[in-house]
């Protein structure tokens, strides 16, 4: 059973967002890391890059496959998790903590309201598995 913390917002592309004032911290969910398998490479944007909501900001690679990751919110990247360059396995080990990917200064903080709640995301992943 995948871990789905109550205090986060979720996307249908399996990203999570933790809101910290006007900053969104973005990563991929436990369900996503488990489906991907061993993460061996994470490609992240540069600080200062701008993304629209649902635009691809990078990629996560397992041994077998490449998956794009999408920013659930619009805004400017104000921080990236540089430790993932040498320890991409943190995405598997601690997807909601040390495996975070980017911090985005939100240009439209209302966008998180249209994301899924933990309960909605749980239903979504169950439906996707079936």
């Amino acid at each position: 059973m995948a871990n789905i913390p109550d205090d986060l917002h979720y996307s249908k592309d399996h990203e999570w967002v933790r809101v910290d004032g006007n900053v969104a911290i973005v990563g991929i969910t436990d369900y996503a890391q488990d489906s991907l398998g061993d993460v061996v490479y994470v490609e992240l944007p540069k600080v200062g890059d701008d993304f629209a909501a649902n635009e691809s900001f990078g990629s996560v690679e397992s041994v077998k496959a490449v998956s794009e990751v999408f920013s659930p919110v619009s805004g400017e990247v104000v921080g990236i998790n540089e430790t993932l360059a040498d320890t991409p396995e943190k995405v598997n080990q601690d997807p909601y903590g040390e495996g975070w990917m980017i911090r985005v200064q939100m240009s439209n903080p209302g966008e998180v309201d249209s994301m899924l709640t933990a309960a909605e995301y749980e239903d979504f992943t169950k439906a996707e598995k079936e």
Binding site: G37, D38, V40, Y41, E43, S59, E61, S62, V63, K64, V66, A85
Partner: protein, 350 residues
């Protein structure tokens, strides 16, 4: 699970691809490769028929020996790669790829002369389990009275595994020592479970069941071609560095003249191995770039879990196909540096 040539197959088991790969290198991995096709050839001219269809020399085989070979087109390109097993002078078994079994069957039967060898597609009758890695011999020995140490590499014997009649072949697709066991299809589960038990599945040093992803990374580290990637009907054996299975001086075979001509004038492109030297992972189908010019294509690209490098194989023009040559790979629009290296990337200590 993914569809693979019409078979539902696991990409990985719960341990994950990296652990499956490393366990096979250090201890043992078990692969269910029952999807592979088997074509039985019997009759007085079995050897003559097959020898006309394949590039390696079937006449050199003795009873109980297996040989890597290829079915070739008149252009010297590859219908399929396969193993040829010789049971006796009038009985061979061809083990072919799953996705090409039907095509191979049509190809082979269309070249059979009237009244010649009897062919039978026996793919559905066999399961095939591959036990690979340094501990393979010790594990399999627990389930058979046959002295496995006496079976030499690329030889096989018929006997019993856990009381089930089986063909035990010292072959594999991982770069490790190991065995491929063929038995009646309905015995697959029994032998699979017994091999896991005998291999101490569950312990940190025990056997692990391995999926398609580990099978691919293991064969890539070992520099082995995969049909549909390194070889197909558009690549000749010589381009694919498989000249060692082209026996141009044996009796005539389909594609011999084309291969002899190509050997004389030289190939225009060649399959090489490369290591990525910058951050990034090369993947299948990406372009190879030298001096801003697209000169070739990656046939297989992946992280190599044991070597802890990102490696691949690619076709490049012959004039640049030399060790040390710097190349770039177009990784989804980003040019990533790489260098041509010797293959196999990994070679086990003997």
């Amino acid at each position: 699970m993914v569809d693979f040539g019409g078979w539902d197959m696991p990409v990985q088991y719960p341990a994950g691809t990296i652990e499956e790969h490393l366990r096979t290198r250090k201890h043992a991995g078990l692969f269910d490769v029952s999807h592979m096709g088997e074509i039985d050839v019997q009759g007085a001219d079995a050897i003559a028929l097959v020898n006309y269809l394949v590039s390696n020399d079937v006449a050199k085989l003795v009873d109980g020996q297996a040989q890597y070979s290829a079915l070739t087109t008149p252009k010297g390109t590859v219908v399929d790669d396969l193993l040829v097993y010789r049971f006796s002078e009038d009985h061979l078994l061809l083990v072919v790829n799953a996705g090409t079994t039907e095509k191979d069957w049509d190809w082979i039967t269309s070249h059979r002369k009237d009244g010649a060898a009897q062919l039978k597609n026996v793919s559905a009758e066999y399961c095939q389990l591959a036990l690979q890695g340094p501990d393979a011999v010790g594990i399999l020995q627990k389930l058979t009275d046959l002295p496995l140490a006496d079976i030499r590499y690329y030889h096989f014997t018929e006997g019993q595994v856990d009381g089930v009649p089986a063909i035990i072949s010292r072959t594999g697709y991982t770069g490790e020592d190991g065995f491929e066991v063929y038995a009646a299809a309905d015995k697959a589960e029994q032998i699979w479970n017994k091999l896991l038990d005998a291999g101490n599945y569950g312990s940190d040093t025990g056997v692990l069941p391995c999926g398609l992803a580990a099978r691919n990374t293991l064969r890539l580290e070992a520099g082995l071609a995969l049909y549909g990637h390194e070889i197909d009907e558009n690549t000749t054996l010589l381009e694919a560095n498989l000249g060692w299975i082209c026996k141009l001086n044996k009796s005539d075979f389909i594609g011999r003249d084309a291969l002899a001509r190509q050997k004389e004038i030289g190939v225009r492109r060649r399959l090489v191995g490369f290591e990525v030297t910058e951050r990034g992972i090369a993947r299948d189908e990406q372009d190879v770039v030298i001096n801003a010019e697209r000169v070739g294509r990656v046939t297989s690209g992946s992280p190599a879990p044991y070597l802890k490098k990102n490696i691949g194989m690619a076709y490049v023009p012959s004039e640049v196909a030399s060790e040390g040559q710097e190349i770039q790979i177009d990784v989804r629009g980003r040019l990533v540096g790489a260098q041509i290296v010797k293959t196999p990337f990994y070679k086990r200590q003997k």
